[in-house]
């Protein structure tokens, strides 16, 4: 099936993106973010999980958590292209919240067919969720988990679980006698312990989850298939978050390069600064174009979805690394301090860079698709 020229990014998507941009600009300036998440600079701090629940509730009331829920589960059933537009604005604001994690769970549940509908209904009602599908080695392969399930009870540890302390539900992958299955469980279920990780990123929280014979609701026995179908959307919306954050890094650094004077000129006058900033822009644009191409493929050309989403996340991880490095470097001495806001985005981007696969991992998968796997 051919993709529409405009990525399927129509009027509705345009309005959603514009309203999201305005929402964050009106309600969540970067100094507010800094005040909220950066109160304790100590390197030995535990991650705090500070976030603005009131603002989050407004986002839920706007229907943003139900955007990707299929209409059959009373959601809005919006295309991934439209969701990516919203997430780009979220990334620009670096807003700490469980939107991405809830969207991720939504895409996996939607890939479970009718088996996922009960859990999806809870998301439509405003419940938040996250995926608990990663093992201790941090493998991004869908089939790897350290959690097992016997007689409906989960045992073991899921690692690198995003926004664990913010969400109401977890979608857990666990090994059973029959293969890999998916389970839906409340984060306050008896026997479930959230162990926060002390992470560098101040805008997110992450944890490992210990399951000690936790009773869980079975969702699907086709876990690998559902995860593999959903992963392209998960990679693509994270890449959209990176694009938004990288655009903030670019514009903020350009503004500084126009203001700060050395040798009787603003920094941006010097080509040693100007040209790499152009290269940041080039990467941001490449990534943005690849994000909407991947989103549109998921919506309209599913046979190419994995290929294009690998391209988007490979590009995004490179963009995150380069834009972050340049943003600190060109802020000079002040960029190296805790008080300068660029560190918030630097850290968020470093987290996003590795999350759900870094550039090398995605390029290796892409090569398997385009060149054939090596025996």
């Amino acid at each position: 099936m051919a993709q529409p020229d405009n990525f399927g990014f129509g009027e509705e998507a345009t309005l959603l993106k514009e309203s999201a941009r305005k929402f964050f600009a009106d309600n969540f300036a970067t100094d507010k973010l800094h005040g909220m998440v950066a109160s304790d600079p100590s390197p030995e701090r535990m991650s705090e999980c500070a976030w603005d629940r009131d603002l989050w509730q407004q986002m839920v009331d706007l229907g943003w958590t139900a955007l990707a829920v299929p209409e059959v589960a009373d959601g809005l059933g919006m295309p991934v292209a439209a969701v990516a537009g919203l997430v780009e604005e979220l990334g620009r604001a670096a807003f700490p919240c469980p939107l991405l994690s809830t969207l991720n769970a939504t895409y996996v549940l939607a890939a479970c067919g009718s088996a996922g509908e009960t859990a999806l209904g809870e998301i439509t009602q405003g419940r938040t969720a996250s995926l608990a599908i990663t093992n201790k080695q941090g493998s991004w392969e869908a089939a790897e988990t350290d959690v097992t399930c016997e007689q409906g009870k989960l045992t073991g540890t899921a690692c690198f679980v995003q926004e664990a302390r913010k969400v109401d539900r977890l979608l857990v992958s666990a090994r059973t006698a029959a293969g890999l299955s998916l389970y839906w469980v409340a984060t306050d279920a008896p026997g479930l312990t959230i162990k926060p990780d002390a992470i560098v990123d101040l805008t997110r929280d992450q944890a490992h989850i210990q399951f000690d014979s936790v009773e869980a609701q079975a969702v699907s026995t086709e876990g690998v298939a559902a995860l593999e179908q959903a992963m392209p959307a998960i990679w693509t919306i994270l890449a959209a978050d990176i694009v938004g954050a990288a655009e903030w890094q670019l514009q903020t650094t350009v503004e500084y390069a126009n203001t700060r004077q050395q040798f009787e000129h603003p920094l941006g006058f010097f080509q040693a600064v100007k040209h790499p900033l152009v290269d940041v822009m080039v990467l941001v644009d490449q990534c943005k174009s690849l994000v909407y191409n991947a989103a549109c493929a998921i919506d309209t050309e599913p046979e190419r979805a994995a290929e294009y989403a690998h391209m988007a996340k490979a590009s995004a991880s490179e963009t995150a690394a380069f834009a972050s490095g340049r943003s600190v470097q060109y802020h000079g001495g002040i960029g190296f301090t805790w008080e300068c806001f660029v560190h918030l985005y630097f850290k968020r981007q470093n987290h996003s860079q590795m999350l759900w696969g870094d550039a090398v991992w995605h390029r290796a998968r892409l090569a398997d698709i385009l060149m054939g796997a090596v025996a």
Binding site: N6, T14, K274, H275, D285, N293, R363, A364, A367, M371
Partner: protein, 411 residues
């Protein structure tokens, strides 16, 4: 697909139908000679004749000059060249030989020449009967274009031109040249003026064209020497001293950011030509053995090829996104990146291919054992023409930094 597909006007819909049918009936047959990679490498009369015949038939059918006024030989349509371009690419027609004329001279003449000059020159430009070339660079004026020294001195209602232009593609076939020169030595920018001047009809009468040999060993561009060439004042474009502003119109279109679409094709993939792209690079890696295994199985080589695949697809998707206004931050931001990215991706693809080929990467066109007939080292060397011509990559980064990001102007 009501909202998602691009909405076309009734005129565009009807014109698309017309183009599709006409191309079905009139697409030219396979060329009788090997075609070069691009119009700028046309070397023989036989290549030129075949391509000129194609351009003339496309013009007569209304597929060229679509959006130009009828009075100057255009078709007077509204935003239809884009449609013709898409249909020509779809039908895999050959490229147009008069590429500098269509892409750069035509819009410059339309916006800056007198009416009688437009009526005289544009129809034969569109039809390809007159090939055009561009006289901008000089031995002492490359990236710093405004320092050109070719000089026109007024003599009654004529001008007498002396000077030296270099890197002039297609001058050996050209009837006309767009020419940036100096009419006042005391002001760098305001001393520049812009002319169109005859080349072929003035050979031996004030104009000399000599081929320059490229790094690859090919010819294809030239130096052009003016010795007391006399030109009527009517061929001066815009006002005296406004040459730099006129040149900006030319460069805007050369870099693909002008509002008038350039007629284009190049959809025909002749078997003899060899595109510098990643699918050919993957093919090369499959056919190259390193350490007893296909190079395509080496994880480091796979990673580097995939880096290029991502960049190549990114450029293609940039071009698609440049037409979706809701996903643009700045009107020219993507268009102004086109030339920089296309040339650097081609260069890096060529460089990697030569490296992947290993020892065989050193074999050139004359060697029967050369992979792809030696086209990879040829493409790699040729790519430097692309990263240098029409504003070097360094100048492109200045333009992007200053015009799009708003950074302070560098010296």
């Amino acid at each position: 697909m009501s909202k998602s597909a691009r909405e076309e006007t009734a005129e565009q819909v009807a014109f698309r139908q017309y183009c599709r049918q006409w191309l079905k009936d009139n697409r030219p047959g396979d060329p009788p000679v090997r075609l070069p990679l691009s119009p700028l490498e046309i070397m023989t009369e036989a290549q030129l004749t075949y391509l000129q015949k194609w351009q003339k038939s496309a013009y007569d059918a209304g597929l060229i000059g679509c959006d130009y006024p009828e009075a100057v030989g255009g078709a007077g349509r509204n935003d239809c060249q884009r449609v013709a371009n898409e249909e020509m690419i779809r039908a895999k027609t050959p490229f147009m030989p008069n590429v500098i004329g269509l892409g750069m001279a035509a819009p410059t003449v339309l916006y800056h020449a007198q009416e009688t000059v437009k009526e005289q020159l544009l129809p034969r430009l569109f039809s390809g009967e007159d090939i055009w070339c561009q006289g901008f660079s000089e031995p002492g004026a490359g990236s710093d274009l405004a320092s050109v020294q070719t000089f026109a001195e007024r003599k009654g209602d004529k001008w007498v031109i002396n000077g030296h232009k270099v890197w002039t593609s297609l001058a050996h076939f050209a009837e006309w040249m767009i020419l940036l020169l100096r009419t006042d030595r005391s002001h760098k920018y305001d001393g520049l003026s812009y002319f169109v001047v005859p080349i072929r009809s003035a050979l031996g009468k004030g104009v000399t064209v000599r081929p320059l040999i490229k790094i690859t060993g090919e010819t294809g561009f030239n130096e052009v020497i003016f010795e007391d060439l006399e030109v009527d004042d009517i061929y001066r474009l815009d006002e005296l001293g406004k040459g730099w502003q006129v040149a900006m119109t030319t460069l805007l279109h050369e870099r693909g950011a002008g509002e008038l679409q350039t007629p284009r094709s190049g959809g025909m993939k002749s078997k003899a030509t060899h595109a510098t792209n990643t699918s050919n690079l993957i093919e090369l890696a499959r056919n190259t053995v390193r350490n007893g295994k296909p190079a395509a199985d080496d994880p480091l080589i796979r990673d580097r090829i995939m880096e290029l695949v991502v960049r190549e697809m990114g450029l293609g998707q940039n071009q698609r996104r440049s037409r979706v206004s809701a996903l643009l931050d700045h009107p020219a931001r993507l268009l102004l990146q086109n030339k920089l990215l296309a040339s650097e991706i081609a260069q890096d693809t060529g460089a990697l291919a030569v490296e992947v080929a290993g020892a065989s990467g050193s074999l050139y066109l004359g060697d029967d054992n050369a992979p792809a007939g030696g086209q990879w080292p040829m493409a790699y060397m040729n790519s430097y023409g692309m990263t240098i011509a029409a504003g070097t990559s360094e100048v492109q980064r200045n333009i992007l930094g200053e015009r799009v990001l708003g950074l302070a102007k560098s010296k």
